[in-house]
């Protein structure tokens, strides 16, 4: 990108416990309140204090779809991180550091990089020994360097600390102001960010969007057991519970979590759970229970680096077959994977509608990168409706008698109007055992083979009805391209960026992103792929799970694969390199 640049990439690097996440969030909001599009990614480890953490915010005049590569400004919180990251700063960029703590070795910082050595001790002296204030000093300076109005930063700080943390707010305001003022001595930098203080996009993580989607969908019950990278759904929903009216329950384990949610759904409320692979393993038995009892429930599984405990704070997309194969036997279920923060929001609303209309469990597969990265949104799609599916007409007032109600009535669609406890005239027993249409079990005394077959077919018929309700995948970009990039989940933005960067270079590429994993648009995907000249999947796993799914569903053999499983997300650059290689 030629100067003046229309976007800026800022990386903060330090250790866990250095307050990097909060600093990043503040800066992201500052950018967004300055009319910029924002994308931020936090690379961290599972240690609580220490370790190697860096957070990168990218902000630009136009939509940004990944956290970017080359860093314009580095905030190095200690010498170790300065050494690790100094060389990632681009020519013309700058490095901010606390000059009392960080002493760059001669030659470490290239000559084409500006050093901003901040006198943190002087600035923070009056405000106690909170080491995290150094970040705020740097923020103040950075805001000045980027020519952003100080009032934006002070506004974000005020909103963050609120009126309840007054002392903290005052200290932060003071030191950021001092940092800002100190930076007036710095040379200015040539950016063309086109600041616009009247546009303020919301900035949130994928998890927050998933949670907000649950609010939109009228979810009333959220159960979870903490697990990275799903925990922040729990945190946000718990924090807002009294405002949203969602009952949030941390249960004793993931088995209880999903069984509780199934109970709540059986009792008539929209209910959801969130976990990651290990917890999903524990839930898997109950997913089959939801399928068999035809209880609607939404299950978020945010994938992280596996196998087993693996890399708990790193991203991966390797739980696709875990979701597809969850629980014994064949039963109807839906697996879908949102790809952007916006999509997280809409996917949950859709997931609830599908779950209730078809009375099936819906698995929403996220991944750490999608769940935890922050993004500014152009606006969330609020034009949705809540569709609860068919209910049996209650026979109000009558004293109830069982088995009159055909809870699992044979219907053409496979969907039988449902009811729930408390309603008159529809008393029934849901059962994990095979049952007849009036919900009597047939496993115990007489396994009526014909009944079994019909009930099985009734359940599975739903899958055929679901598919037409799902938006078929479509090629983005030119129809006739030299190469089609195929992805799922969080790689969406990087692939788009790679496609457009290479497009500018004259390559003709397009992009197929798959959202619905089960049921699968086999016919449409096959047609699309057969029309492609060359194909490349981009996935964060070892075995090429999407390629395998596509071959299973369509027989189509994807030609090339770009696989990454080191825990870090793709960079557009990696995709670009691979595309060049394939296209040679």
């Amino acid at each position: 990108m030629p100067l003046p640049k229309s976007e800026v990439v800022v990386r903060t690097a330090g250790a866990a416990g250095d307050g990097i996440a909060a600093t990043g969030e503040t800066f992201a909001k500052v950018c967004s309140r300055s009319g910029l599009h924002v994308f931020a990614y936090n690379s961290y480890q599972s240690v609580i204090r220490g370790g190697f953490v860096w957070l990168q915010v990218r902000a630009g005049r136009t939509k940004v779809q990944s956290h970017g590569a080359g860093t314009d400004f580095l905030i190095a919180l200690n010498s170790r991180e300065l050494e690790r990251h100094a060389n990632d700063v681009v020519k013309g960029g700058g490095i901010l550091y606390n000059k009392d703590k960080v002493k760059p070795k001669p030659g470490l910082i290239r000559d084409d990089i500006t050093q901003y050595a901040l006198p943190v001790l002087d600035i923070t002296a009056k405000h106690g020994k909170n080491p995290i204030l150094q970040n705020t000093v740097a923020l103040g300076a950075l805001v000045k360097i980027l020519k952003i109005d100080f009032s934006v930063l002070s506004g974000v700080l005020s909103d963050t600390f609120g009126s309840r943390k007054k002392a903290a707010l005052e200290a932060n305001l003071a030191v950021s102001q001092a940092g800002y003022e100190y930076a007036e001595t710095f040379e200015t930098v040539d950016f063309a960010l086109d600041l616009d203080y009247n546009t303020r996009r919301p900035v949130m993580t994928g998890n927050q969007a998933l949670a907000l989607g649950a609010v939109a969908a009228g979810c009333k019950f959220y159960a979870a057991y903490p697990m990275t990278p799903a925990s922040s759904i729990l945190h946000w929903l718990a924090a807002t519970s009294t405002r949203t009216g969602i009952l949030v329950k941390q249960a004793e384990d993931e088995i209880a979590v999903l069984n509780m949610a199934i109970g709540a759904a059986f009792a008539g409320v929209r209910s959801m759970v969130g976990t990651s692979g290990g917890g999903f393993s524990l839930m898997s038995e109950a997913i089959g229970l939801a399928g068999q009892t035809e209880t609607p429930v939404v299950i978020i599984s945010s994938q992280r680096g596996g196998p087993s405990t693996g890399l708990p704070t790193k991203t991966e997309q390797a739980d696709l077959f875990q979701a597809l194969g969850a629980s014994q036997g064949d039963y109807p279920k839906i697996v879908l994977a949102p790809s952007t923060v916006d999509d997280c929001f809409s996917s949950i609303v859709e997931a609830f509608n599908l779950a209730e209309k078809f009375q099936v469990p819906v698995i929403v597969l996220s991944d750490l990168y999608l769940s935890e990265h922050m993004e500014s949104l152009d606006g969330i799609d609020l034009d949705f409706s809540i569709e609860r599916g068919e209910f049996a007409k209650p026979d109000v007032g009558s004293i109830d008698s069982k088995n009159g109600f055909k809870r699992y009535a044979f219907t053409e669609s496979g969907v039988s109007p449902r009811s729930f406890p408390g309603r008159a005239g529809t008393v029934f027993q849901a059962s994990s055992d095979e049952h007849d249409d009036a919900a009597n079990i047939i496993s115990d005394v007489f396994t009526d083979e014909e009944m079994r077959t019909r009930m099985f077919q009734k359940r599975m018929r739903k899958m055929e009805r679901i598919l037409p309700e799902l938006a078929p995948p479509r090629l983005e970009g030119k129809n006739a391209a030299d190469l089609t990039l195929i992805g799922w989940g969080s790689t969406y933005g990087m692939i788009r960026e790679a496609v457009s960067t290479l497009g500018e270079e004259g390559m003709t590429l397009n992009h197929l992103h798959i959202k619905y994993m089960l049921p699968f648009h086999a016919k449409q995907v096959k047609e699309i792929l057969e029309s492609c000249r060359n194909t490349l999947t981009v996935e964060s796993n070892y075995t090429g799970q999407l390629s395998r799914l596509i071959r299973m569903e369509t027989g189509f053999d994807i030609k090339h694969q770009l696989l990454k499983y080191d825990g870090e997300p793709f960079y557009p650059g990696q995709i670009i390199t691979k595309v060049r290689e394939v296209n040679n």
Binding site: E252, V269, K402, F420, G425, S432, I441
Partner: protein, 286 residues
């Protein structure tokens, strides 16, 4: 109300003589005498002979997974605390694979009644050792005799915060019906551990065996408010086996402390103004 109201056409499929018949009947009597409408009652179970109970009784039912009745019931209660939620299941289901849920439920203290048909064996899977089987018992899975000591559900309940802890016996039907009624009436988590002989696979802890040992706490000067006494009695077994209420307490229920349940059960809360809510919440992100 009539007991008949709680009956269904389907006949209970337990072996003739199985203790669980008495438990079913006790529940029917208790529900009738409490004048509960079947539509407002949900019986939740896991998997086991005993866990087939909900199918034999006229009310809503959820017959779920082995060992997971407790969380399902908890979810139901949280979604609609106007319902009368009763868990019915076996000792393997509740004290074996489901033990963790059982204890966490007691410290949670939702207003749920848990009726355990304790036959000290795995019935439905044809006679393996249960967590309640006595040390030395010979079963299909322990032909050299069980090497573990049995769990003590009464004692576990006492130290875990259950607010109504009782033991019944299928051989003492009236007493059992009364206990069941008291348990359902009680606000908070109530455990009724019922010695319910398996006539097919447990030839050791038979009706006769119990008859020779049981006595009623209420006839033995027991103070249901005294935790120390309750704990002492909970350890009686070999020669004298107490029946009745060990301990009773009043503590706020979980649902009464949960703020979002203040106005009405979740299931009755409207969900038609979510767009406004979302618009408001989005402000936090800008």
């Amino acid at each position: 109300m009539e007991i008949a109201l709680y009956k269904v056409e389907a006949k209970a499929t337990w072996c003739p003589g199985c203790g669980d018949f008495a438990v079913l009947r006790a529940l029917q009597i208790a529900l009738a005498s409490l004048e509960l409408n079947p539509k407002d009652v949900v019986i939740v179970s896991g998997i086991g002979c005993s866990s087939n109970l909900p199918g034999f009784l006229n009310s809503y039912g959820f017959h779920g997974l082995h060992g997971r009745a407790v969380p399902v019931a908890s979810g139901i209660k949280l979604a609609n605390h106007d319902l009368n939620v009763i868990i019915a299941g076996g000792d393997g289901d509740g004290y074996g694979i489901g033990l963790g849920h059982f204890i966490h439920a007691m410290r949670r203290n939702l207003d749920i009644t848990y009726v355990v048909m304790n036959n000290q064996v795995y019935g439905l899977t044809t006679g393996q050792a249960a967590p309640t089987s006595e040390k030395g018992m010979l079963t299909k899975s322990t032909p050299q005799g069980v090497l573990e000591g049995p769990v003590n559900p009464i004692a576990l309940a006492l130290v875990s915060g259950a607010t109504f802890v009782a033991r019944g016996f299928s051989g003492d039907a009236d007493h059992l019906a009364k206990l069941t009624e008291d348990g359902i009436k009680h606000k908070g988590f109530s455990l009724i551990d019922i010695m319910s002989p398996c006539v097919t696979y447990n030839r050791q802890n038979t009706y006769q065996w119990f008859r020779e040992r049981v006595y009623r706490l209420e006839e033995d000067n027991h103070d249901v408010l005294n935790m120390d006494q309750a704990l002492k009695r909970s350890r009686e077994w070999e020669d004298r086996i107490p029946l009745g209420i060990f301990y009773k307490d009043t503590k706020p229920t979980y649902e009464s402390g949960e703020q979002v349940l203040k106005d009405m059960p979740l299931v009755h809360q409207p969900i038609d103004r979510t767009v406004e809510l979302v618009k408001e919440l989005i402000q936090d992100f800008t």
